[in-house]
Amino acid sequence: MSTADWTPVWLWLAVIASGLYHGVNPGMGWPLAVSAGLMERSPRALVAALGPLTAGHLLAMLLVLLPFALLVAIVDWQRTIQIGASLLVIVFGLFRLASRRHPRALARISPAQLGLWSFAVALAHGAALMLVPIYLGLCREAELDSGHAAAGTLVNANLSMAVLVATVHAIAMVAAGGCCAWLAYRYLGLKFISQSWFNLDTTWAVSLILVGAIALALNLI
């Protein structure tokens, strides 16, 4: 296998890894599933809460990825778009680094609206943005064999890729978050919530900058 063949593997691993990373982060909502399970005294309620949490996250990913799916179809602009996307992720990361305030609007969402909350939190924290450079990389990899396909075909391929990336990411996320929630609910107890909660604000912002920077470097090479 050549290096080029390895690239998509790494990119898919990045999609899964970012999903796991988002999933285990209590800030992305798994403690809400624990709370739901305990409040209803039923493991079924825990699983049910994971549904809207995942759906909200998935929608946030799609909302951010789909415009790029349309953009990358403009083949002549590919490089510019990819550089632009990388810069966007870096700037957002820098913004998260500088502004430590949690958007208070999130606190206005009722605890009953888990889907909306999950959607809003994924957008506000740039979780969806983190996927953009990875996604564009995958599109580019797919392009290598496609030559000059018709724009329509390209858009379709890119849209399918966006849905696939968001879905794989969301599955990884719910698997990781669901495991944490189940462990806390069934075995580790509520103490696990505060014990496992680390302040990842800086790490999070740095990961955004890092993802953007790697993508930028790859595009400029």
């Binding site: 800030g27 606190a107 969402i109 009722s110 605890p111 302040n199």
Partner: protein, 466 residues
């Protein structure tokens, strides 16, 4: 911001009960004639310490006439709600409102309670300008920051517009503005609390400033013009969804104490006096079928007394009303403590069945007519008032002053600052600790007590006890 959540934040009430016991108590001190600035006293409550039950540090304010009353923390266990993303706050600052001045002090208790110092002062003008409210009262930390209830609206007398709740940023302490979007019929205010996962707030009513600042207005009381309603709100929609009138004779619906376990959708409310028979009462509210309900579940009778034992205000009645001024619920939701400031009694009710409180214990101390001394022989002016329970439910602390001008009306001989502690028994019953007696500086009265690491009227929990 810390890397980990503050160790004094607990996901559930049960975890809070299992945490280490309190080491220090904070009590606000009030100069009743405003001759000195009000202060915050830090009391050592470690039984094995050489300075046990003594004031080990005092933070004296730079202004006079603030009238300290209630106060609270900048952050509590509610920070562990994953909905708000504030898990890494620190329980560090005490938010102390001056109820007469409308000034708010932020006191830093780190690195050590014995070195507590003023961190920031929010001048009244900022509160007036940004909220249109005055006379700040109850402080709770919640989803959108620090919530503070007020007793006054705008204008000199606080009667231009209704009082309400305002929000303050929990990190910068900047006043953000009013909380309510739709207050419905609410025109008076006092206490508030909530059930965070169930997303509702409960608020109560005392009076408008002209009805309390210069003392109780007997004509207003006898014509039932003090607060007698309870309001239920959609917390995140900031909307009043239901108001229940207890009946106009139930004057002054004060402290709101929801069950700590968020699975339990009920709570308690104390009513100072029934103007038809001078009784004090405890009410239980609950939610059922999407509606709130409330009923009177315990009454405390007045006690006959000779005219010469009574202040002029009560001489016409020939009896001492219990005057239920504060109530507090233990962390396991099992015992409700009821301060009878008039008759000089601290009652303990078993509320395992919330709608059927059973008297489980009682101690007598102070009182208008009884004037019961402390077991150590010392006189206790006033009666049991602000009550605070340790997280583990084993110790109950209380002070003796209600409010400067009201103290003078009910206890003309004065209410020198006092703070006592009672040990509780697991199945009910309580007994005053002989060796716990705090000597406060002369000329000060004592009001609310807070315990380091949180207590039974500060923290809100987002997960049930399991």
């Amino acid at each position: 911001m810390n890397i980990r959540p503050d160790p004094t934040f607990h996901a559930s009430p049960k975890l809070a009960m299992e945490a280490p016991p309190e080491s220090f108590a904070y009590t606000v001190l009030l100069s009743p004639d405003a001759s000195k600035p009000d202060a915050l006293a830090v009391i050592d409550v470690r039984p094995d310490s050489p300075t046990y039950s003594r004031v080990v540090h005092t933070v004296t304010m730079p202004n006079k006439g603030d009238e300290f009353h209630h106060f609270g923390w900048n952050a509590c266990s509610s920070a562990l709600s994953p909905l708000t993303g504030h898990a890494f706050l620190e329980r560090r600052y005490l938010i102390i409102p001056g109820m007469r001045s409308s000034r708010i002090y932020i006191v830093d208790t780190k690195p050590d309670p014995t070195k507590a110092a003023i961190h920031k002062i929010i001048e009244p003008e900022e509160i007036f300008r940004k909220t249109g409210y005055s006379r700040p009262h109850t402080v709770h930390c919640g989803p959108e920051g620090i919530y503070i209830s007020t007793l006054g609206g705008g204008g000199k007398n606080g009667t231009d517009g209704p009082p309400g709740v305002f929000i303050m940023d929990c990190e910068t302490f900047e006043v953000l503005g009013r909380w309510e979007l739709d207050r419905g019929p609410q025109t008076l205010h006092y206490d508030f609390w909530w059930n965070l996962p169930r997303d509702y707030m409960v608020t109560s009513e005392w009076a408008l400033p002209p009805q309390f600042e210069n003392g109780i207005v007997p004509e207003d009381l006898l014509s039932n013009k003090y607060g007698h309603r309870i309001h239920f709100w959609d917390l995140r929609a900031r909307r009043n969804v239901q108001t229940i009138d207890l009946g106009a004779n139930h004057q002054m619906a004060l402290e709101v104490r929801p069950a700590h376990d968020p699975v339990r959708e009920y709570g308690f409310l104390g009513v100072v006096v029934d103007t038809t028979n001078l009784e004090g009462s405890i009410w239980t509210w609950w939610r059922e079928g999407g509606k709130f309900h409330i009923e009177k579940t315990a009454t405390i009778p007045p006690e006959p007394a000779a005219k010469e034992q009574l202040p002029p205000l009560l001489q016409g009645f020939g009896a001492v009303p219990p005057l239920v001024s504060d109530i507090d619920l233990s962390m396991d939701d099992k015992f409700l403590y009821v301060a009878c400031w008039g008759t000089g009694e601290m009652r303990q009710y078993n509320v395992n069945e919330p709608r059927r409180p059973k008297l489980a214990g009682s101690v007598r101390i102070g009182g208008i007519a009884r004037r019961t001394p402390h077991p150590n022989g010392k006189a206790f002016g006033g009666g049991p008032q602000m009550v605070e329970i340790s997280r583990d439910g084993k110790r109950v602390y209380w002070t003796n002053s209600l409010y400067s001008t009201w103290d003078d009306q009910f206890y003309p001989d004065g209410v020198p600052g006092a703070m006592v502690m009672a040990d509780t028994k697991p199945d009910g019953g309580l007994e005053l600790a002989r060796d716990y007696w705090v000597n406060f500086p002369d000329g000060y009265r004592a009001h609310q007590v807070r315990l380091d690491g949180g207590d039974c009227s500060t923290d809100s929990f987002c997960y049930p006890s399991v």
